[in-house]
């Protein structure tokens, strides 16, 4: 079965191809079928492969299959090959299963949209590109998936393209991630010129044997790869595209945030972790960027009033946790958090979509919602479970176990790490605060917007399955104090080496402390938004607080700064160069020849006497040359 691995990305690609070729002529039932079944089959195939892999792991806990040689130019022979190890297996399972649930949800959510067929074509292509990215055995093939993901995100964010704002958001996402992609591409060039191969496993082995620990070239290569990862995973300083990416349909946001796209950067660093271990300075940068991002994004999330933008900033923040984990070498924790995050973030987005689709005018502003707990129980419970998991409520949520793992390993990492750990801890508090702020405002209080319509099974089922996963997904890896299950880290051991030993009593103390922190965040949210004290309301209206809230609302003003520093100077240069200074040279040549043409045209008088005169003059000149010589 494992030799049928190629089917996993092939099925969604086939689905996308069918939908594209049919060009919207299929009836919507057929579109739904062609849109969902390929990903479902992919998920089933992945599950069978996964079970087979765990029951009887291939030698070396990795499976490589070269499908064909792409091109052969001298020593450059990039393979179109697949590589399956526990890392890519986990990612693949999450992408296909979560992707399937999101697509199933979309069949009802997107019903009646005129771009129904187009939507599923893009979504299938998206999943396929992400699977190529995950399974590629070769960095060049990985790059194909990487760019495919970027393309699909552009198409889907700008899905409702009739609205110019959506097109702008899509363009922003594409351009900002493109900055990262350029870094990644240069990184690939550096790797190839120095190591002579782009096949990931040989490349990692060669790098480890050729480059000394902390060598400059390893730092350069990893820094360039990091730029690519920052762009795709929306980390500081390239995080600005993600909140605007909310312009797309909600299932798209779910797919981008949970399964595909933003986790590509995490996967890239995890996949190339051998290189990062050679460049400790860059690895430290990864941790620092992660810590900064999670902190910044959490405060931005705290002040949003669009429900999807809250979730967008929370994604940026949670990916920041993954980067923090990667930076401190807690590879397994990063992937574990990726998995948990995929479940609860998909759940949150789908629940948010379930809320907005039932509200009149698809209301997104949380302050115009309220009192929905009784009216939309399905959405309420799923959103609550997702929020609990995001806030890392102790014991019962997947988010708790993954976040604990990151925090404890960050603590165990030592050195200058208490700052990073503190950032993670403070953010855990803010995370609980902002998500339960949303919960309390949206679901309690008095109703402000009328409710329309009802849910079908295709909405409820994905929410239910994801709710279950968001709870039990964490039980594959628990701290020592809570049963000490290590299924996940043992499974990942063949990729990342043995998990670090936990510190016993300290760990338990940290665990309790962190649990109290997230609980107190929920408590504070309850105090502030369920029992609003007049003094708090007054405080939020004081000028300095209003200014800070506007600052946080704008995502710490990154957009404004980029607008001033990059966009406007660029537009200024473009405006100066509107007539293309370089082109002027060529226009000048054309203009000069045209001028000469006009000059020569004057000689064509059509009068033979003049022609004869010129002839005579020319002859005289020729004879003069002969005479003078």
């Amino acid at each position: 079965m494992i030799h049928d691995l190629w089917l996993v990305p092939a099925f969604p690609l086939l689905g996308a191809a069918i939908l594209m070729i049919s060009a919207g002529r299929l009836p919507s039932r057929a579109v739904a079928l062609v849109g969902v079944v390929p990903v479902a089959v992919s998920a089933i195939v992945s599950a069978i492969i996964g079970i087979g892999f765990m029951a009887a792991p291939p030698s070396g806990h990795a499976f490589t299959e070269i499908l064909w040689r792409w091109i052969a130019i001298g020593g450059f022979r990039p393979a179109v090959g697949l590589y399956l190890d526990p890392l890519s297996l986990v990612m693949m399972l999450v992408v296909t299963i979560v992707g399937f649930l999101i697509l199933l949800y979309s069949t009802e959510f997107m019903a009646g949209d005129e771009g129904y067929s187009r939507f599923f074509a893009y979504m299938n292509l998206f999943v396929s590109a992400m699977l190529v990215l995950l399974l590629a055995s070769n960095l060049l093939f990985l790059y194909v998936g990487w760019e495919g993901v970027g393309l699909c995100s552009y198409l889907l964010i700008g899905f409702w393209y009739q609205d110019a704002a959506n097109g702008l958001a899509a363009r922003k996402a594409f351009i900002v991630t493109r900055i990262g992609d350029t870094g990644l591409m240069i990184g690939l060039f550096v790797l190839f010129t120095h190591l002579g191969t782009l096949d990931i496993q040989p490349l990692l082995h060669r790098a480890a044997s050729v480059w000394p620990h902390g060598s400059a070239i390893a730092s350069l290569a990893t820094a360039l790869l990091l730029i690519g990862a920052l762009g795709k995973s929306a980390q500081i300083p390239l995080q600005t595209w993600l909140p605007d990416a909310m312009a797309g349909p909600t299932p798209v946001s779910a797919l981008i945030h949970a399964a595909t796209m933003v986790t590509a950067g995490v996967y890239l660093i995890a996949r190339m972790h051998g290189l990062y271990m050679l460049a400790p300075a860059i690895q430290m940068t990864v941790a620092a960027i992660g810590a900064a991002t999670l902190f910044v994004a959490a405060f931005a999330a705290l002040n949003q009033h669009d429900i999807k933008r809250i979730l967008a900033y929370s994604t940026v923040s949670q990916i920041g946790y993954m980067f923090l984990a990667l930076g401190v070498g807690a590879w397994t924790a990063a992937i574990f958090h990726f998995m948990a995050h995929a479940f609860f973030k998909a759940l949150l987005f789908l629940a948010a979509g379930a809320i907005t689709m039932r509200l009149e005018h698809h209301e997104h502003d949380i302050f115009r919602m309220g009192g929905l707990a009784k009216k939309l129980p399905v959405a309420f419970w799923s959103f609550l479970i997702g929020s609990a998991s995001l806030a890392a409520l102790p014991l019962v949520t997947a988010g708790f176990y993954s976040k604990e793992m990151i925090l404890s390993e960050t603590w165990a990492h030592g050195g200058a790490v208490p700052i990073l750990w503190a950032a993670g801890l403070v953010t855990a508090f803010v995370t609980a605060l902002y998500i339960f702020r949303a919960v309390f405002i949206v679901f309690f209080g008095e109703a402000k917007t009328p409710i329309v319509g009802r849910y079908g099974i295709r909405i409820v089922l994905p929410l239910a399955v994801l709710s279950v996963l968001a709870v039990i997904g964490g039980f594959v890896e628990t701290p020592n104090g809570l049963g000490g299950v290590t299924i996940f880290s043992r499974f990942m051991g063949s990729v990342f080496g043995p998990a670090p030993l936990a510190a016993g009593a300290t760990e338990t103390a940290l665990l309790v402390f962190a649990s109290l922190v997230s609980l107190s965040g929920v408590g504070l949210a309850w105090l502030l938004y369920m029992r609003p004290a007049p003094r708090f309301a007054a405080w939020t209206q004081t000028p300095s607080v209003v200014a800070w809230r506007a600052f946080f609302l704008s995502g710490w003003g990154f957009d404004v700064v980029y607008d001033r520093l990059v966009v406007r100077p660029f537009l200024y240069v473009v405006r100066i160069n509107r007539h293309d200074a370089i082109d002027d040279v060529y226009t000048g040549i054309a203009e000069a020849s045209r001028g000469l043409h006009r000059l020569l045209k004057l000689t064509q008088t059509g009068r033979i006497r003049w022609y004869a005169g010129w002839l005579a003059a020319g002859s005289i000149l020729t004879i003069a040359v002969a005479v003078i010589r």
């Binding site: 008088t605 059509g606 009068r607 033979i608 006497r609 004869a612 005169g613 005579a616």
Partner: protein, 102 residues
């Protein structure tokens, strides 16, 4: 046979040729232009004769005969063209036939 200096003999075709050039350039009437061309051709033939006489060879006269033939052909075609142009433009002004200007 004669003792005329060669320089004096040679200056005659040069003068005739130059006069022909002036005629072509000055006159606007196509018939006069054709006449001027005849003058120039005749000057060229004269040069051949002088050269043949200088070396006492018949080749110069043969070439003169060829020039003569050429002149005859040229005049017949040229005059036919003049008749045609006169018919078309109702004038013999060469400056009026400037349809080919750029």
């Amino acid at each position: 046979m004669t003792t005329i200096p060669l320089d004096h003999v040679l200056i005659l075709p040069v003068l005739l040729f130059a006069l022909g050039v002036i005629g072509v350039l000055v006159r606007r009437n196509l018939v006069f232009i054709l006449m001027s061309i005849e003058i120039m051709l005749n000057a060229a033939g004269l040069m051949f004769i002088i050269a043949g006489a200088r070396w006492g060879q018949p080749d110069g006269q043969v070439m003169f005969l060829l020039v003569l033939t050429l002149a005859a052909a040229e005049v017949s075609v040229g005059l036919a063209l003049i008749i045609r142009i006169r018919h078309r433009l109702t004038t013999l002004d060469s400056d009026a036939a400037d349809l080919l200007q750029g």
